[in-house]
């Protein structure tokens, strides 16, 4: 037999193709996702990190959820009743709920999970102040007895962001709230493959065949969590923004959870890439004052800074893409249940002349304002530059200090040595006056850095917690909002969307207002 050179080359290519592309078929029903960050901590109650929360949504289920319009809807709960005095809540679980180890979900698991969550989460611990006891009259029924009526039981149980009250098996939930759990078993739509988890490399989830989804369509963290892929792989190693786009263009990954703004326009023009809008409310930028440090212990100085912080310059510099940002002078995010602009004129109608006048009237003594600037966090690193410039124009002296984000995180936990830092929140972390940690004004007892002090605000928040009627809550929400602007707790700097990018063969996207990966099909 005589082989021609061309035949030999063809054979070699065929052999090479076979050798190098093994497993291509096996990839068919695997959803490959590039998350926005690295997954390190697998206990979503122990930390408030968004990646741990997203991991939680993959493997755990929740009693209630928040739909795309910010309404609380039942999830694991089938039905519930509330006594006339709002002090006794009885919940019945859905039938067929099962943990990944084959054991049924019982009310005892629920109570243990809520107790652990209540020790860590800000809203959870607020709720626990009202809870007298919880009991389990039947395996599918649990009750919450309140010492006095409070108006946020369902908001707390269905809160969509960190820390989410995920339901874990009782033996896991009994872990000390300040120690990380060792077992990662939930009753959610995916099973976590601990044996395949390689920190900093990849996390793998497989479909939980016994999961019984609700019949409603998916919406936010509520509705039917139907899984149409066998396996989801989070690529934790792919963190270079350009490399992420390259991989998406080549089809090596299916979804980039958070596309960098710099790559938005180029990705948009790619015929194989879509930009599904899965977040209705987006994120909010904010600048936080340290209320314990002079001169920001003076409300007039803070007001001057707030007046200087027109939102457009921040948004234009940081986001840059006009269709991705919108100014909004609401501390609770525009178009959300408590979204309001009450009292926001000081910033919404601000101008530099007003800021300068306010600063002169404040008795500012020229103390340099230390602004911490994270150089390694592309999503917020331009905000401090804009903030520094605006403050200088208003008449402040500014000391802009560059550092990496983790140095900033360490420094801001200390009560001195800094005046301002900037960050971003997902809308649902700040849209409720209780879950919003920045409006906690109990001074050094506040749950978040900056330690604002204001008794009037504390009183309003206490009233809000106890209000059970929606119109009253709405009114109190507006009062809290107006007061926050009056005492300049912080400066909201506008809202933006963090764009998601996906291959066009991925379908089934819905408004999650977060990062949730069910209902997706890979065609």
């Amino acid at each position: 037999m005589k082989l021609h050179r061309r035949s030999l080359v063809s054979l070699a290519l065929l052999a090479g193709t076979t050798l190098f592309h093994t497993g291509a078929m096996a990839q068919a029903n695997v959803l490959r996702i590039v998350p926005h960050s690295n997954l390190a901590i697998l206990d979503p109650i122990w930390t408030t990190a968004y990646m741990s929360r997203n991991h939680g949504y993959m493997i755990y289920d929740t009693l209630f959820g928040t739909d795309e319009n910010a309404k609380i809807k039942p999830q694991m709960v089938e039905s519930w009743t509330e006594s006339a005095d709002h002090r006794l809540w009885t919940f019945k679980l859905r039938k067929g709920l099962e943990f990944h180890d084959g054991k049924p979900v019982t009310s005892e698991d629920v109570v243990a999970s809520l107790q652990r969550w209540g020790k860590r989460d800000a809203m959870g611990s607020a709720l626990m102040q009202f809870v007298q006891r919880m009991d389990t009259p039947a395996p599918d029924t649990f009750r919450i007895f309140l010492g006095e009526a409070c108006g946020f039981v369902l908001e707390a149980l269905g809160k969509p962001s960190s820390n989410v009250p995920f339901i874990m098996p009782k033996r896991v939930a009994e872990t000390d709230a300040f120690k990380q759990i060792e077992e990662h078993i939930g009753s959610g739509p995916y099973v976590f493959k601990k044996d395949e988890f390689k920190p900093g490399d990849k996390a793998v989830y497989t479909k939980f065949a016994k999961y019984v989804p609700r019949s409603e369509p998916p919406s936010g963290s509520t509705g039917g969590k139907r899984v149409y892929v066998d396996r989801v792989e989070w690529n934790l190693a792919l963190r270079d923004a350009q490399a992420q786009v390259n991989a998406l263009q080549k089809g090596e990954v299916d979804i980039i959870e958070q596309l960098s703004f710099d790559h938005y326009e180029s990705a948009k023009t790619d015929a194989n890439i879509q930009m599904p809008k899965t977040d209705k409310f987006g994120l909010q930028y904010m600048g936080r004052f340290n209320h314990l440090m002079k001169p920001f212990d003076n409300v007039k100085v803070r007001q001057a800074a707030l007046a200087a912080f027109a939102q457009e310059p921040f948004l234009r510099a940081q986001v840059g893409v006009k269709e991705l940002y919108r100014p909004c002078a609401s501390m609770f995010v525009c178009n959300t249940p408590f979204g309001s602009t009450a009292g926001s004129d000081i910033q919404a109608k601000s101008n530099m002349k007003k800021a300068q006048d306010l600063l002169k009237a404040s008795g500012y003594d020229g103390t340099p304002i230390i602004i911490m600037k994270p150089t390694d966090l592309a999503s917020i690193q331009k905000l401090p530059d804009v903030g520094a410039q605006l403050l200088r124009q208003a008449g402040f002296k500014v000391d802009l200090q560059a550092m990496d984000w983790q140095t900033l995180v360490g420094r801001r936990a200390k009560k001195d040595g800094w005046h301002m830092f900037f960050t971003a929140w997902q809308a649902f972390d700040v849209w409720n006056p209780i879950s919003n940690p920045i409006t906690d004004t109990r001074g050094e007892k506040s749950v978040w850095f900056g330690w604002a002090t204001d008794e009037k605000m504390v009183g309003l928040r206490n009233e809000f917690m106890r209000a059970t009627e929606e119109p009253v809550k709405k009114k109190l929400g507006e009062a809290i909002h107006a007061r926050a602007f009056e005492i300049a707790t912080h400066a909201p700097l506008g809202e933006y969307d963090a764009p998601m990018a996906a291959r066009k063969n991925i379908t089934g996207f819905f408004v999650t207002n977060g990062n949730m990966y069910w209902n997706l099909k890979k065609n």
Binding site: F20, T22, K198, G200, R239, Q249
Partner: protein, 313 residues
């Protein structure tokens, strides 16, 4: 020889000890709080304080050092703050990608650079020599990430021959393993080709002027034999030294390449650990890097014996 080996091995102990103390102290003196990193953005100061205590960071620095060093002596590098995994396990997971990349890179670099360097010396002053020197300057000057993006654009996106990113373990098959590493090793090897080729050229050029080369040519030996057996063999010591240093640098210096190609190696682990202030992991990895440096230097020193019979230990 055995005596030399023993002495050198013994000398690694104080080196590693000094590295251990310095790294430990430097980490404690730099700003940043691992507890604040772990707690997440919405955590309160009280929660951060509890986490700090849980990590043992509320103890005095000498106490912390004593605990850590006591464990290290028994081979226990501790547990990562960030990943809640043994540091030795993390290093074990990340060693293969980095070692694979380093070895493939250095093999490629040696196979290309040594012949090029010899040819450039042989044809000193010719277009080949000038071309090689020009390439060397380019190889030194172009940053690895720029070259990586250019190669990805050409070979992965335009031609579609190679993957953009990722790593396959050898256990998944040699073919996929090599396929994934072609672009990263090509990217990294350019600078080493430039370096080794220049050193080879200079070293061979020097030996080509020696009397024994003239004698070999006068004996009528073919030019290839003169170059390989007499010139290159006698020029080997500096070349081996550069290759050795190259391997050591590669083990710790592949951060950029690992990031661009999403290779979960030691470089990426180190960067993540530094960003998260994951003290045990940083300390463990730096100790490993130090050990690799010392070990490779020792191997290089030992290899001199085989290339230059005049050297005795």
């Amino acid at each position: 020889m055995l005596n030399f080996l023993f002495k050198r091995l013994l000398s690694t102990i104080p080196v590693l000890l000094i590295v251990a103390v310095l790294v430990f102290l430097m980490l404690r003196l730099t700003p940043g709080d691992p507890a604040a990193v772990l707690a997440g953005d919405a955590a309160s100061t009280e929660q951060i304080a509890k986490i700090r205590a849980g990590l043992g960071l509320d103890k005095s620095i000498p106490q912390q050092f004593a605990i850590w060093f006591g464990n290290v002596v028994t081979g226990d590098l501790g547990e990562s703050f960030y990943y809640k995994t043994k540091v030795t396990t993390l290093i074990g997971q990340r060693l293969e990608p980095t070692v694979s990349l380093a070895l493939l890179t250095i093999t490629l670099a040696v196979l290309v650079a040594v012949p090029l360097g010899v040819m450039a010396a042989w044809r000193f002053g010719s277009w080949l020599d000038r071309g090689l020197m020009g390439f060397s300057v380019l190889g030194f000057s172009v940053p690895a990430f720029v070259l990586a993006y250019v190669l990805i654009w050409l070979f992965a996106l335009k031609l579609g021959w190679l993957p953009v990113q990722g790593y396959k373990r050898i256990a998944d098959g040699v073919g996929p393993w090599a396929y994934q590493l072609i672009l990263p090793s090509l990217t990294l090897s350019v600078i080493y080709i430039a370096l080794i080729a220049r050193v080879t050229r200079a070293s061979v050029l020097e030996t080509l002027g020696e009397d024994y080369i003239r004698t070999a040519r006068a004996k009528g030996l073919p030019e290839l034999a003169v170059l390989m057996r007499h010139a290159l063999a006698n020029a080997a010591v500096p070349i081996i030294t550069v290759i050795g240093i190259g391997i050591a640098l590669l083990i710790g210096g592949v951060v950029v390449t690992e990031s661009v190609y999403a290779i979960p190696g030691l470089g990426r682990l180190t960067v993540d650990a530094v960003l998260a202030r994951d003290f045990p992991t940083i300390q463990g990895v730096i100790l490993l890097f130090s050990f690799v440096y010392v070990a490779i230097n020792l191997l290089v020193d030992l290899s001199y014996v085989f290339f230059d019979p005049r050297i005795r230990y």
